[in-house]
């Protein structure tokens, strides 16, 4: 099993330069807008949220990063701002909490973490969209699991690429 428990002394905390902190989420939102409609289940802003949250291992930083990225995504859509914001806030908090307790630096654990948090994201998103905004959404487990798998597969090389921007705190 790739996920291993580590003591807090073993966990490395990373930080990112300001240009990276601003540019990477913006780039993710920008690239997401260019994806063909049929692959919109790929959620690049979500992957970036998980990456930053896990790497920083700070719950506050994680939830704030998720909140900002989510609201960026909301601003480009045609429904009220906050639907993606709430979902990504929860994911940011959860991923950073997990990052504090577990070593999620290797490919296998990154795959599983992304798989898990994609589902969490979708559950929160659907709950908010249906419960608060009254959007009609069609939930399909096969579709969601397939999308979670696709995102998890993409997360592995993407996180390796983003690792280059890490700086030890």
């Amino acid at each position: 099993m790739p996920i291993t428990y580590t003591s807090s002394e073993q966990i490395e905390v990373y930080r990112f330069s300001i240009p990276v902190t601003i540019a990477v989420p913006l780039l993710a939102v920008f690239l997401q807008a260019f994806l063909p409609q049929r692959v919109h289940f790929i959620d690049l802003p979500l992957l970036v949220t998980i990456f930053f949250a896990v790497a920083r291992r700070s719950q506050i930083a994680g939830l704030l990063t998720g909140s900002v990225i989510g609201m960026l995504q909301d601003a480009l859509a045609n429904f009220p701002i906050g639907v993606y914001g709430i979902a990504k806030t929860v994911v940011g908090y959860g991923a950073s909490s997990l990052g504090v307790k577990l070593d999620v630096e290797n490919a296998g654990s990154r795959f599983l973490v992304t798989l898990f948090f994609y589902i969490v994201h979708e559950v929160v998103y659907f709950s908010v969209a249906r419960g608060l905004v009254r959007l009609e959404l069609a939930w399909s487990w096969p579709h969601e699991l397939g999308a979670a798998l696709a995102n998890a597969v993409l997360a592995v090389p993407l996180f390796m690429l983003l690792d280059r921007f890490k700086q030890r705190a």
Partner: protein, 369 residues
């Protein structure tokens, strides 16, 4: 108390951030129109993202043009030959259509119908989308400074695409017809049955409010009805894909959009429509057959394969001429600044089978929760 807050500091902050976002959502949902409450955030984000998108599209287009226009010219001779043959055929067709056009304009003038002509359009390039599965919107590279405004219809040569939802300085957001919050008035070309065009959560286009006892068949063409006050009457919407019995004695009709909504690169925004009576002197580009078909009271012709409501014409209906009954699809806009395009009569033609669903106020403007 302090130690409790310190101990649960992170959870408290999480709860606070979530609470603020829920409140923000509540405010936006409560207001019918979120244009004002969240406009500032949207302007910031769009201003940050769209310059990148425009730059990317420019680079992509330039590279593509260089390749297509100067490097990759294989098969151009053959294509040229085929196009010349097509021109000859079209010339013959034009002669026939110009006769029809003349006849149509004469009859229109006699009947005193007013037409809506598309007098001004703005061409725009698609520079991105919302990037969300549930939000079917696109961004175009024209905005307020190009004369765009909210609720203007957006079309392609194939058919309608959507309408302008939000306008920024140099970009605009377009709500596609397959978004679940969109709506438009539509009419079946052959049977003249009216319905409401809506998007579904899964991105399909549906025609609603058509009674279950009507006969609609796959392949029937769907046009805009003009009843929504957004789209001019007679623009192609798509064709019927499937028909099933739905809830509450209505049919579930799935439409295949005429425009390929997932691959739109360029669009036209209708910025100005003129309403005037046609004059005999006008000899604009064809569509005469459509004008006749739309204007004259007609009895649907029961042709094999096409299903007409099998309803008798209303009293007073005048049988259509052969040309009138011809279900040629309305050809929309040519992309020229002043194409002689579509028309909406002030009143429905007499004898037209009235299928009454109230024209939607194109849901989208009201959809902004």
């Amino acid at each position: 108390m302090d130690s409790l807050l310190t101990r649960y500091r992170n959870v408290s902050i999480l709860a606070g951030v979530l609470f603020l976002q829920v409140i923000g959502l509540g405010v936006q949902v409560r207001r019918k129109n979120d244009m004002e409450s969240s406009r500032l955030i949207r302007v910031w984000v769009v201003s940050a993202v769209t310059p990148l998108e425009k730059g990317f599209i420019w680079a992509q287009t330039s590279t593509g043009n260089l390749w297509r226009n100067y490097l990759y010219l294989r098969g151009v001779r053959d294509e040229n030959r085929a196009l010349r043959q097509q021109i000859e055929q079209l010339r013959l067709e034009q002669v026939r259509l110009s006769d029809d056009a003349h006849q149509a304009r004469r009859l229109q003038a006699l009947l005193g119908f007013k037409e809506q002509f598309i007098s001004k359009t703005v061409a725009a390039q698609v520079i991105g989308s919302s990037g969300s599965v549930q939000s079917r919107t696109i961004y175009i590279d024209k905005g307020e400074r190009d004369g765009l405004a909210v609720d203007l219809p957006v079309i392609t040569a194939e058919g309608i695409v959507g309408k302008v939802l939000r306008v920024y300085n140099s970009t605009s957001q377009v709500l596609l017809i397959n978004d679940q919050t969109s709506g438009a008035g539509a009419i079946l070309e052959s049977s003249r049955l009216q319905g409401i065009l809506r998007g579904s959560p899964t991105g399909q286009v549906l025609l609603e409010k058509v009674m279950a006892d009507e006969q609609v068949h796959p392949g029937d063409k769907v046009l805009t009805s003009g009843g929504d006050q957004v789209f001019p009457k007679g623009l192609p919407v798509g064709t019927v894909m499937s028909v099933e019995k739905g809830r509450e004695s209505f049919l579930d009709i799935r439409i295949k959009p005429a425009a390929n909504l997932s691959k739109i690169e360029e669009v036209l925004i209708i910025t100005e429509k003129q309403e005037r009576e046609p004059s005999l002197a006008e000899e604009g580009a064809a569509r005469a057959v459509d004008i006749l078909a739309d204007r004259l009271p007609s009895v649907p012709q029961p042709a094999p394969g096409t299903v007409v409501g099998a309803k008798p014409a209303a009293p007073g209906a005048t049988p259509a001429s052969g040309a009138a009954a011809s279900p040629t699809p309305a050809s929309p806009v040519s992309g020229q600044p002043k194409p002689p395009v579509h028309k909406t009569p002030e009143a429905a033609p007499q004898g037209e089978p009235a299928k009454p669903p109230a024209p939607p106020q194109t849901g989208a403007s009201g959809q902004d929760q």
